[in-house]
Amino acid sequence: MISFLIRRFISLGFLLFFVSILVFFLLWLSPGDFLAEASIRPDIPESFIEEMRQNYGLDKPWYIQYLIWVKNAITLDFGHSMSYNIPVMDLIAQRLPATFLLSCTSMLFVWSIAIPLGILAAIKQDSWFDKTSRFLASITMSIPEFLLAVLLLYLIARTGVLPIGGLTSVNHEFLSPIEKILDYLHHLILPTLVLGTVGISGMMRVMRANFMDYMREDFVRTARAKGLPEGTIMFKHVLRNAINPLITSFGFAFSSLLSGSLLVEKVLNFPGLGLLIFDSFMKEDQYVVMASILMSCTMLVFGNLLADILLAWTDPRIRSSAK
């Protein structure tokens, strides 16, 4: 186990190194730099732009810039954001809680609905419940996320039950702690619905198909023959087998916990990381780009690691083969 973890961490180091060098090179290849936009503003003199370029080190070749960045990154200094003039980590930390909160609620929403529904649909195969849920799943899967967001936004604008966008109300900081929590929840409903709906249908279908596969296995027949109660067979034996692929997908879902969702953030005006990262890509605010990419890489590796550990926990076969 320990050697497995060590191997993973070494490969993470290599991965981060290659990804960072690639991203830096690509950023350098793309035309213009952070100061391009300022250079066509009549009120900013050219000599000032040149001075800023020197201050940011943008006049140096890309590999020198990269080496300076690596040297600082090793001491956990990931540079300053050029547009906000504050350390990149501070900037990301401002947006992290909201992104994390929304990722958690939408993941919770998806898992807690999709898994029971999938199981139910598999057990009651071809019943009216199975048919309607399959029909609804096909519909929601084929609606693009942005359309769903706009449709829900329209409905809410007409009825006025939920707030349009944002994470908190204007008077949030003057509310009592309980009201604050309720205020968060009230604002999280809409983005969670939008992010979750598409995920539910996909995950539900996977769960249903898997569950049905295992229901036909020999061990189920044996268990029935042994006279085990139906509930034990389904939830103790079939479920543990059927959930494996979902645990793998959990690893990927974990990696997206901190990446934010550009679409929901833009349409529903949610204060997450997605827009910040997108803007810094567009403006070539390079250290913010670097930090966000390295962060999602690390999250991906950790997510997979977590999924592997969980798999080993649910599936004894993996444990024994690892030995």
Partner: protein, 607 residues
């Protein structure tokens, strides 16, 4: 045992109860402090209103910084304008500079020394008195220099764009304190737009920032982090100060209890208690928020008018026409005669020959049906633009410049006059038999740019020209027009407004935004030389009428020579809730430009 159990239960209940009580307790919203009127306060001419209420506005980006020495974006400058003041301020209705932190100025005999009298007895938003020291400190921040230890070069201590701006007549602006409430500025040469230029500088509090000045860390102060963690550190003299900032969501400002303006009945302005900016990037979402009553005011684009206006009956708002946009939009040809490092000309010499001929540029504009563009893309809500200064800039716009109507026949005549000819199929060739065709660069991603490019291609086809449209992302386009110069023609827009002296980089031949042929060492053409001479004249022309006359002449030269082919000028609209009083609409400023005078009669509109 039983006693103990009941004891613990009681304790538990008390504990839980107090916890619940505590967590239900709201944090009181800070009450507005009303301080007695004192000092040399400005009396606003507006109608007398009542204190109270909050104004909710929308900003499309986040403030990048709260430090005026660090370059920010539009939202940054709007917010800084609420918190800080300069010495004078431009009144968009009277079209002149009016007192702000300074009350008046005196010019010396030789017209190079300005004695500026500051407002007496006013205070910063933390109660500290405002004096000449603060003004001197502000200019020290912008203009003090250091010697580079390696090269010996004199460099600004805190590089900012102001350093170049306040280099007048080849020398840095000189300034000194006369007494606690008077400062003196000295320019090396006559400089007409002095009061305009001095009003760009937001005055900073010395008592707050001196230690960072000495530590050389001034540029990393007053960041967005400061606004989140300790908003009370950012102080100013403006109508508002920061109460709290939630990144990605909103910034909450409250009235500055020390603001230096009052109304006729001695009530201190601003009337509004709280000002909220919500950050909403998506322009559709912005309009929806306003149309559903969740914000008090916003700009509305012409294509949204039809559905937003009827919503005003439900949510009690009006949509007002503000007049033409203050920016300009145009097409231009690359007139750069130079060569790149490999010795290859930037522009194909054949094409450069066409583009450099004034008749060619005029013919193109005659062939462009700008009214059709207005009718189809702008739903009729725009005007044809004829000058380099937008008609929104009432004071400086010259309405009598050369005009080019839609006239394809005139366009063909001009081409024939140049020696060009048409073949049997109506295709245009130059005198050497080269087919007339050129590339046109358009910034991608904007639907109005795409529609305009398509129409331009069609207009060119009608006069026998093959236009090849290329969509590029913004930074590639900027690189082409600013660094590599490898393009034929392109389109863009500039924002504008106020005194044209700020547009030096565009108007003068040595400017870096003289985009058709930037940074010329010597004026390349006769007319550019004329403009440069006139420009130098206007800088020294202290008679405002004569100065205006010179600008009118310059505008006319631009309209005749057409280095920029002006397109159209959209009308702008703003919505505002009907309950707001003292709203004054002007094309030169946003609808809430006099935010300190706005007030609301109803009392229930609070945080």
């Amino acid at each position: 045992m039983r006693v103990l159990r009941s004891m613990t239960r009681t304790h538990l209940l008390i504990f839980l109860g107090s916890f619940l009580l505590l967590s239900c307790k709201r944090i009181p919203i800070p009450e507005r402090v009303h301080l007695p009127i004192k000092g040399d306060m400005e009396t606003a001419e507006c109608e007398v209103g009542k204190h109270g209420g909050q104004l909710i506005l929308i900003a499309s980006t986040e403030p990048k910084t709260f430090n005026p020495l660090v370059p920010g974006d539009y939202t940054t400058s709007i917010l800084l304008g609420r918190i800080l003041n300069s010495l004078f301020t431009y009144d968009p209705i009277k079209l002149k500079y009016i007192p702000s932190l300074a009350t008046s100025w005196e010019v010396s005999e030789d017209k190079k020394t300005y004695k500026i009298h500051l407002r007496k007895g006013i205070q910063w938003s933390d109660g500290h008195p405002f004096t000449a020291e603060d003004v001197i400190f502000t200019f020290d921040c912008m203009l003090s220099t250091v010697k580079d230890p390696e090269t010996g070069e004199i460099k600004p201590r805190f590089p900012s764009r102001n350093f170049v701006q306040y280099t007048i007549g080849g020398e840095l602006l000189k300034y000194k304190k006369i007494d606690e409430h008077t400062v003196e500025f000295k320019t090396a040469d006559l400089y007409a737009p002095f009061i305009n230029d001095i009003s760009y500088a937001d005055i900073l509090p010395k008592h707050k920032l001196l230690k960072y000045y000495e530590e050389n860390s001034l540029l990393s102060q007053w960041t967005s982090k400061t606004a989140i963690e300790s908003p009370e550190e950012i102080i100013g003299t403006g109508p508002f100060k920061i109460l709290s900032y939630s990144p990605g969501e909103r910034i909450l400002l409250e009235a500055n209890p020390y603001y230096w303006k009052k109304d006729k009945e001695n009530n201190r302005l601003p009337y509004i208690d709280h000002l909220v900016y919500k950050f909403v990037e998506d322009s559709n979402a912005q309009t929806i928020l306003f149309a559903t009553g969740e914000s008090d005011s916003t700009g509305i684009s012409p294509e949204d008018l039809n559905w937003v206006k009827p919503m005003g009956k439900v949510h009690d708002f009006s949509v007002l026409e503000k007049g033409p946009d203050s920016g300009i939009s145009f097409i231009w040809f690359n007139l750069h005669p130079g060569k790149n490092k490999e010795g290859k000309p930037y522009v194909d010499p054949v094409k450069l020959g066409w583009f450099s001929d004034k008749r060619f540029r005029q013919a193109i504009l005659h062939a462009y049906n700008r009214q059709a563009l207005i009718d189809s893309v702008y739903f009729g809500k725009a005007k044809v633009l004829h000058s380099i200064t937008s008609p929104a800039n009432k004071k400086w716009h010259n309405p009598d410049t050369f005009k080019y109507d839609y006239n394809p026949n005139r366009s063909r005549e001009l081409f024939l006059d140049m020696g060009f000819y048409y073949d049997n199929e109506g295709l245009l060739f130059d005198e050497k038999g080269n087919r007339v065709q050129f590339r046109f660069l358009v910034p991608g991603g904007s639907s109005s740019h795409e529609a305009r490019a398509t129409m331009f291609k069609e207009f060119m086809r009608k006069v026998g020209i093959d236009l090849q449209v290329r969509f590029l992302d913004w930074s590639t386009l900027i690189q082409k027009i600013q660094t590599t110069y490898d393009y034929d023609s392109a389109t863009m827009g500039f924002s504008g407004g106020g005194d044209p002296s700020g547009g030096k980089a565009l108007w003068r031949s040595d400017g870096h935004l003289h985009i058709w042929h930037p940074k010329q060492k010597q004026p390349h053409t006769e007319w550019e030389k004329r403009v440069d001479t006139l420009w130098n004249q206007q800088e020294k022309e202290l008679d405002p009428e004569k100065r205006l006359g010179i600008f009118n002449t310059i505008q006319n030269i631009y309209s005749e020579e057409l280095p920029l082919l002006f397109l159209v000028n959209p009308l702008t609209y703003s919505g505002i809730k009907n309950e707001w009083q003292n709203v004054k609409v002007t094309p030169e400023a946003s609808i809430i430009w006099n935010i300190d005078e706005l007030w609301i009669p109803s009392k229930d509109k609070k945080l």
